[in-house]
């Protein structure tokens, strides 16, 4: 790892001023992506601003069906929140399958979505839940937040502070994990609620997380795993790499959708 300077922020305001004081600084949450990347010398920020001790960014609150998850909440704390499991167990199940126990003890939802890895789990949930990403300065709908591979709507020093959503009537997630990394080779999050049916796919799109209109129509007509049997998934916009071809991923999108509906 190249040399860096560590700073610990005590509040969101403190983090913003620490960040602006250094030329090439990055926010640090769980470090499960950033420290790993710095060890490989694929990132070399001169300064790190640690958000892990900002209390206001931690914890899950559920009021009625309105959910708020602080950006600094770890995957473990999302997975084990009883209040959240009461209204939206699918997101707890998703968090409980990210990486391994040690990664879940450090990694955070804010870090995960700010990173927007095309194979990360949370982006599919937030898109399907029509979640709102709250930052230090504004609120961004999930559809506008995830803009491409490792790309988001965040500007340079913007901090994700929380995500909020209304728990839908039904929600389910299924992923086909890469057997080595556990990231999603394809993961599908489905929801059914007042706003209709939403199907969001991660790990497969060549431009990152996306919704699938054909699957949504089929499931709106009939909410059942076999309703998707006749839907065509076009492989031309899907990723192809050493793990799986685009055709294989196209099939996985359907299979994971069926499993997600069955789990919902």
């Amino acid at each position: 790892m190249y040399a860096t300077h560590y700073h610990r922020a005590s509040s969101v305001q403190d983090a913003l001023s620490l960040k602006s004081a250094a030329e090439d600084s990055r926010y640090l949450s769980g470090g499960m992506t950033l420290i790993a990347t710095m060890k490989q010398r694929l990132a070399a920020p001169t300064d790190l601003v640690d958000l892990r001790h900002v209390e206001a960014m931690k914890g899950v609150t559920v009021a009625g069906r309105t959910v708020r998850i602080g950006a600094g909440t770890t995957h473990y704390d999302v997975a084990s929140s009883a209040a959240l499991a009461g209204v939206c167990p699918a997101i707890c199940a998703l968090a409980s399958h990210i990486g391994d126990p040690h990664v879940r003890h450090m990694g955070t939802i804010g870090g995960s979505i700010a990173n927007n890895d095309p194979a990360a789990d949370y982006p599919s949930a937030l898109l399907a839940l029509d979640a709102v990403i709250v930052t230090d300065r504004r609120e961004i709908g999930a559809a506008d937040f995830f803009t491409g591979l490792f790309e988001t709507a965040l500007v340079e020093d913007e901090i994700v502070t929380a995500v909020t959503f209304e728990a839908p009537e039904k929600a389910g997630y299924a992923k086909f994990p890469n057997p080595a990394s556990r990231y999603a080779m394809t993961g599908v999050f489905v929801t059914k609620g007042a706003g209709g049916v939403r199907v969001a796919v991660t790990g497969a799109g060549s431009d990152g997380v996306f919704r699938h209109a054909g699957l949504e129509q089929a499931l709106s007509a009939r909410w059942s795993p076999d309703a998707v049997a006749g839907v065509a998934v076009d492989p031309s916009n899907l990723m192809a790499d050493l793990h799986a071809s685009a055709d294989y991923r196209a099939n996985l999108v359907k299979v994971m959708t069926k499993r997600a509906v069955a789990a919902a």
Partner: protein
């Protein structure tokens, strides 16, 4: 260079290190606690697992500076007064190790797992919870048996704490 202070195995420690120093190197090189190992550079093998504020973490993917002020327990902190911790004893009794390289991480992971699941641990859960720990020798079978034996032995521990 900055002086980093934390509690390690119940003892207050402080040592000068670069901000980029990883917790695992701080433990091994600054404190001489070489029981915590480094087995990869991709955050995937789990030989470096220690407990930070009561939770298992990969000390190769955390800066010592991030851990400043926290309470760390390493493999050296488990046995008390020459008496092996029940998880260590179970690994010994069940032949849960061969070369022993992965063992510190496996034991720290198992202690954390038993803390969270208690006697309710079953084989499938143990296997799933060992996702982040790689062993090149045993084929995992005896490791799983060791964890189950320790969980049964420590059975009441979780309920008693609640």
């Amino acid at each position: 260079m900055a002086k980093v202070k934390m509690t390690v195995n119940g003892r207050q420690v402080g040592s000068e290190c670069d901000d980029r120093t990883l917790l695992v190197h701080f433990l091994r090189e600054n404190l001489g606690l070489t029981g915590t190992h480094v087995g990869c550079d991709t955050s995937q093998c789990g030989t470096c697992v220690v407990h930070m504020d009561g939770r298992s973490v990969k000390s190769c993917s955390i800066l010592a500076a991030q851990a400043a002020g926290s309470d760390i327990v390493t493999i050296e902190g488990l046995a008390s007064g020459g008496e092996l911790h029940p998880v260590q004893a179970a690994f010994k009794a069940n032949h849960g190790l061969q070369c022993g390289f992965c063992t510190p991480g496996m034991v720290m992971t198992s202690v954390d797992m038993i803390r969270r699941h208690g006697a309710a641990l079953d084989e499938a859960t143990v296997r799933a919870e060992l996702e982040g720990n790689i062993c090149r020798c045993t084929g995992y079978h005896n490791i799983v048996q060791s964890v189950l034996a320790a969980a049964a032995e420590m059975g009441g521990a979780k309920e008693a704490a609640e």
